[in-house]
Amino acid sequence: MAALIVAPLGRTDYVIYVLSSWLIFSIAAIGLNLTLGYAGQISLAQASFMGIGAYTTALMTLAGVPWLIAAPAGVALCFVVGLMLGFPALLVQGHFLAFVTLAFNTLFFLVARNEDWLTGGSYGLSNLPRPAFWAFDTARNLPFYYFTLIVFLASAALMWGVVRSPWGRAFRGLRENPIRAESLGVDTRRITLLAFAIGSAYGGLAGALISPLVQYIEPSSFAFSQSLRVLLMVVVGGSGLFFGPILGAAVVILLPEFLRFTEGYYLMIYAAAVIALMVYCPTGLIGVGRRLGDQLRPKREARADLKLGARS
């Protein structure tokens, strides 16, 4: 925590920018983690929710509306869209939701690209203002980082609360054994929808921060490939685990920086590493950490046949 506060001090603008970017993507990943890791639903549309948040915030702040009003508006819009899109989630299962969200993301991209009277089309929206709160102006990168940090901590704390709440337990029940959850009285439909909507709202919040950070947005930043990136963050870090997405975002954003010296090969190394990770430790990096921890500090071994529970 203290590390987060002192990390950007004394660094170049570039490093501060990358750190801010990491925090923003962590927010998006945390949201997706709720949908995917806790509630077990595959969403491939997180980037489009980021896009909705980003464009809403951009359009409103360009019209003079302060960020503190524009951003929540964007987040609320994402929540509503999430509800509407999630409705079919009740009707289909598993992989099909992935395709529906994939379709939605691509449609969003097309609309953003074609409707240039609203979104500026391929030209995008530029000169987006950075918020200023009384004396605290975020025009320079360092103050903006702290602003992002505050938003990040608030949203992470909120998620912590959600996960620890009865809702959170319901989510986990849904993931582990949906039939049993239903038989225990958990309204699977409502809960699934809620998870998806909240996760999308987090995506919107991340988008609302991207607009002032980059100060320019255009459609291809929110295309399907970005959704895959966020998904990768969640899975690589460890889905279903609280710190997983944060770690995953760090890996996906910061690792390419370190691997830059390999030039063209770094994406290949990266992809190969992800495959290896999935083969050996599908619970992601945090899973790796846990396994190492278990090796060093052996715990009591639970009975293997009780592990899966009474699943079919």
């Binding site: 595959i42 395709f99 097309l110 992809a271 495959i275 999935m278 083969v279 599908p282």
Partner: protein
């Protein structure tokens, strides 16, 4: 009228290629419950194997094609199954999906680094002649695409329904545990599914690369359309994949010509959402009922 015919025929031709990719995708899904996000790259890659054969190994075209096919079947079929899918099956669906996503990146970047970022011309397998048909122009390539796809579907359906191995493969797909109890070598059946997929992908690659040009990024759009075609047509029927592919090819062209060009890419997506909501088994699929 001539325009309609033109667009229809071109659409069928492109759709036939989508169908090949979709069929392979469906096979793998049925056999191993694997959603192969790298299917697009599987169609992109064999063309490069052929180009390597022709330009680096100085093979004549016919030999390079065979070479490409064999390499594709080994790498994209056998190796894919052994190295990527098998270790991951016990871990469940999601890690496997992520792994195939990563695999698609790996293959894409690999093709780019090894062969180059530029699009490469790919030799056409058929004479360049064209036929005029009611005011529309159809190339020999177009006709062959359709013919090959139909032949594949017929052949594959016969194989799956009439031969022992084919029926074993179907059994493995429908209920692996029972099949195993009944003495079917399920692992081998799954392997066959992967091999057939690789072969189909290679075939699609050879048919499409003369027009699309061999480029490392070809897989992106092809993969997406293959999924959509498979789902729209019906995930559990080979015929469905063919129907889905042809339908999308034709509708895409018709939309672009008569309705809107800017949103032409939206049509398959809307179709996908509609099908998933109202007929999840696909147009030709058989309702599997709720699985408990």
């Amino acid at each position: 009228m001539a325009q309609f015919l033109q667009v229809l025929l071109s659409g069928l031709s492109t759709g036939a290629i989508y169908a090949l990719a979709a069929i392979g995708f469906t096979l793998v899904w049925q056999a191993a419950r694997t959603v192969n996000f790298a299917e697009g790259e599987f169609v992109m890659l064999p063309a490069f194997f052929v180009l390597i054969g022709v330009h680096w190994l100085n093979m004549p075209l016919w030999l390079a094609l065979i070479f490409g096919l064999i390499v594709a079947v080994i790498v994209l079929g056998l190796l894919f199954k052994k190295v990527v899918v098998e270790p991951m099956l016990p871990n469940g669906g999601l890690p496997l999906i992520i792994a195939t996503m990563a695999l698609s990146i790996l293959l894409k970047e690999g093709a780019k680094q090894v062969y180059g970022a530029e699009a490469q011309p790919f030799p056409s397998l058929f004479p360049q002649a064209t036929l005029h048909f009611g005011g529309a122009v159809v190339s020999v390539q177009d006709l062959m695409n359709l013919t090959v796809s139909l032949a594949v579907v017929v052949g594959l359906t016969l194989f799956l329904n009439r031969t022992r191995t084919g029926r074993r493969m179907q059994a493995t797909a429908q209920n692996p545990r029972v099949a195993e109890i009944l003495g079917v070598n399920t692992r081998r059946m799954v392997l066959y599914a992967f091999l057939v997929n690789a072969a189909l992908a290679a075939l699609a690659s050879f048919l499409i690369s003369p027009i699309y040009l061999a480029k490392f990024s070809n897989g992106e759009t092809l993969g997406l359309v293959a999924f959509i075609a498979a789902i729209v047509g019906g995930f559990n029927q080979i015929r469905g994949a063919l129907a889905g592919g042809l339908l999308i090819g034709v509708l895409d062209n018709l939309t672009a010509t008569y309705v809107t060009t800017e949103y032409r890419a939206a049509l398959p997506l809307v179709l996908l959402i509609a099908i998933i909501l109202w007929r999840p088994q696909g147009l030709l699929g058989v309702d599997e009922g709720r699985k408990v």
